[in-house]
Symmetry: C2
Subunit: 546 residues, 2 copies
């Protein structure tokens, strides 16, 4: 039995888009002589559909596409993920299901048992859990069919009370098939390999895994679909960050791969780079936009975002604004000009001086006798935000935000100023990670001018300002932030790790009190295990922990 | 047995604040001769604690306060809600529990079975469900102790597979006690009365219900704690929107109320008015701020927000900016001045003309040959936002946002302009509801100048503009929005209800495509069953439903 793995880039709610891609995959699989074609979890709707799942006409469209796909299953089975209405009248109104389609019909459905409801996942918001997965027989082969999290209750991830695949079922199965919607993070590819390999070791059965690829706002799906034989060897590895079809053969006793070129597994900065490029590209493509605008400060954050945007959209689709003030250094312009020349993106230079003077004089009667402070710094940042937004309105750009995770964490940014934008590209990279990714980009050739990477970070909102006037060194700050945000360490733990008490208190206070700012930031491309945004839900009004 | 109901205003994570209030309630209950004192669900942490529940030191502080409260339970039992660590090693790491404290010890814990995970609720994100509630014996009285949602699986709310309170347990119980964290909405008080009365009718047992009061960012808890005797009659009703203690006596056969003044149940606009005032007051108080600033346009939205802010914070703590442009009508200033005089709030007048001219001239070289459009309208709105934010930075105000739900729904607002602010006060009121609330405020005396209520709504961003240049009449628009947003009706349903197809298509498209703007709005005080914000989670990048 030849089995096709379809790793496709879905678009939430775009049933017509899904239909076209899926029918093309059906054509490919047929041409390759496949007996069974496997799509990902909730492939029909795209993932995550979020509260669209609560709209009956959304489910009706999903049901319609499942039926249409069934009509294309004559002679070839299709496994596809879609919502399934819960007709029992009790529990949530839907199941998160895998459908087996064959000979024009829905032959069987299997519902997900373990519903991830943590971090970015809200599945119990919508779905009733099933009580254990069911075996599915197809052309005499017993398939243990499961959905994503159902296989994750293993090893150091084991935490659920129930395990969906019981001993008896597993022993009867020939093959384990898992359809998934598993987003990328720095750690996720390794964890996924670990989990799937553990399951193969545990049940001594081969496993086929089909994931989504492509970005849905914050979430970037890397794909990396695979097949593993009963000995734990990968016999198929589909690429990361690209749509792909792959084929394996079940010969009655084992899983054999088709001949394929070796797939390079992306790791570290290279994986993050590809993830962010895909994240930008899909955000624009799926919203129907193609041109980005970025404010270039001469610093490392905006330089990195510009490189990533040029790679995602093409240099011809990226415009930059250089917006010097009375406090801007010469190098802020020179370095930016060197960068735009190197990348081939367009740029305009607009001084913010006139607008700043006009704002100051409008406010002067009301601020009389008060010294310049953060107010005037924020004004400059907000004038820049306004000039960028005016360009988006006039020309149809999307503004890319250039805040990094360190800034977002401690609130070192201006709401409605440099925190503007439609999408935050590097909001899940700590400042030290921003430098690492720039170094990766420059590994063979100086794409980002060296001077941008070596000068001291500065907002340039007052004379001779640097970030380290207000913040500790990023090396220290980022480690502390990582331990608090990703690892959720207590203040006592942090002090025991060697961070100074005063620093711990200050940073934790800053992180918590700036929740109100992060509430109003653009969606952030997620590449870590704990990004700001939908996966980290903190109160705004709260007494902060010490 | 005399039972005290403590309806208090908690503050998420403010364990010291909780401690003080709770010990005062212990003192009051002792002085009144109570045998048992009942606090609300998760009273120890405040509700909702959100992802603070994932921090071990947060749980440690909660555990510490439970222990301290136990030390005050000599001679008087205390029932209090707090997280309980799940020590089984399987499932979520916590239970949402009710603790019975007595004679210095934790005598028993009962965990919540039904975990609301819909709309604004995320409880399965944190808590493992229990498998049915347990009876608790206290001084010879059998208490069926349950937590909020556990009692909601009844009547038209019945939807869970399991029911936590079974026939046998209920028959053994003398009294049902439910501790809750049930936020206000227009419909919630009636639904709550219905649900609790249904349970009393079903089990023929008296019921004691203790809820939170006070606002936690978006969520406003009305309190409205009560006791119902076995015949379904309310024998105690605590007030809405105010902390309160109440007492009932269980005499071995029935529940008797203490003598109390009749509590007026608030309904309709009066309830919404009290909710919003409390929402503003608690947002400021719990963040440690006391002064608000508001941009006054001369329109109904900003007038209403100013009235509510003056009532919540005191007129002396409210400052307003009147920011006319070349397109402003005379009445925009005159009407605003009449309002501020009536309310006794302060105001400043700042023309945006100079800043607008400076921005236009800065942009002129890049916009050459292009006609004025939405860009220039947004610029004006953003200059106003910037002037308001400059005042918040300089003087320590919080900016109150004045967007209404109709605008937010269709995207009729400027991101980083009139969408700025720390808190959206009326973002859950459709425009027609804004008028209704203004009429309620003016019911006895003209607080809001009549001219503000009768003139045509306008953003005044170009000559002779009115809202109805771009939008249908609010009477029609709001009905359509309600059917789509609150009732989740399909386009076909909406057409069947008599809305024109073109209007349905346009409005649904606007609602969906403006998700990116709503993603960046301030938190919105929730008064409806479906507010924008944490309770409505829609994708930004999606193909919109038609």
């Amino acid at each position: 039995m030849k089995i096709a793995l379809a790793q496709l880039n879905y678009h939430t709610g775009n049933f017509e888009g899904q239909r076209k891609q899926m029918l093309a995959a059906v054509g490919d699989a047929r041409a390759a002589g496949a007996d069974l074609l496997v799509f990902a979890e909730l492939a029909i709707t795209g993932y995550p559909p979020r509260d669209f799942l609560e709209f009956d006409h959304f489910i009706a469209q999903s049901d319609g596409l499942v039926q249409e796909l069934a009509s294309h299953s004559i002679g070839m089975g299709i496994i596809v993920g879609a919502p399934l209405r819960n007709l029992t009248g009790k529990g949530k109104p839907l199941f998160n299901a895998a459908y087996l389609l064959h000979e024009g019909e829905i032959k069987q459905t299997v519902a997900k048992t373990l519903l991830p409801t943590y971090d970015v996942f809200d599945e119990y918001r919508y779905f009733e859990p099933a009580f254990g997965n069911t075996l599915v027989q197809f052309k005499g082969v017993m398939l243990a069919l499961s959905i994503c999290e159902d296989l994750w209750n293993v090893g150091h991830h084991a935490r659920y009370v129930r395990d969906p695949l019981d001993e008896m079922q597993a022993q009867e199965a020939d093959l384990i098939i898992n359809i998934a919607a598993s987003p990328f993070s720095r750690e996720q590819q390794a964890e996924r390999d670990y989990v799937l390999t553990e399951q193969v070791k545990r049940w001594k059965k081969p496993l086929i895994y089909v994931n989504h690829v492509g970005a849905q706002t914050e979430l970037i799906f890397d794909g990396s679909s695979m097949a593993i034989d009963a000995n734990g060897n990968k016999c198929l590895q589909l690429p990361a960050f690209a749509p792909s079809m792959g084929y394996v053969v079940w010969d009655g006793s084992g899983l054999k791969h088709e001949v394929q070129a070796a797939i390079k597994i992306l790791e570290g900065e290279e994986a993050v780079h590809e993830a962010l490029v895909l994240g930008i590209r899909d955000y624009f493509r799926k919203l129907g936009f193609n041109k980005a605008i970025i404010g270039l400060s001469g610093g490392v954050d905006s330089a990195l975002v510009t490189v990533l945007a040029a790679r995602a959209l093409g240099a011809e689709n990226v415009h930059t604004l250089l917006m010097p003030s009375r406090y801007s250094s010469d190098h802020s312009i020179n370095d930016s000009q060197a960068l735009v020349k190197k990348l081939g993106v367009s740029h305009s230079i607009l001084s913010i001086e006139d607008a700043f003077v006009a704002m100051e004089s409008t406010l002067a009667p009301f601020f009389e006798g008060r010294a310049p402070d953060l107010t005037e710094e924020n004004l400059q940042s907000r004038i820049r935000g306004m000039l960028l937004m005016a360009h988006t309105n006039k020309f149809g750009y999307i503004l890319l935000n250039t805040s990094n995770k360190s800034e977002l964490a401690v609130g070192y940014g201006t709401l409605y100023g440099d925190m503007c934008g439609g999408l935050s590209v590097i909001g899940d990279l700590y400042k030290t990670e921003v430098y690492s990714l720039c170094r990766f980009i420059n590994r063979e050739e100086e794409v980002i001018p060296e001077n941008i990477l070596v000068k001291a970070p500065s907002a340039e909102l007052r004379p001779n300002q640097t970030d380290q006037d207000s913040l500790p060194d990023y090396d220290v700050l980022d480690q502390l932030l990582y331990q608090y945000i990703e690892e959720r360490k207590a203040p006592a733990d942090l002090r025991a790790m060697g961070f100074e008490q005063a620093l711990v208190d200050k940073v934790m206070r800053l992180v918590n009190m700036n929740e109100y700012k992060r509430h109003q930031t653009p969606p952030i491309l997620r590449v870590s295990s704990k990004a700001f945004g939908m996966g980290r839900r903190m109160p705004i009004v709260a007494r902060y922990l010490q």
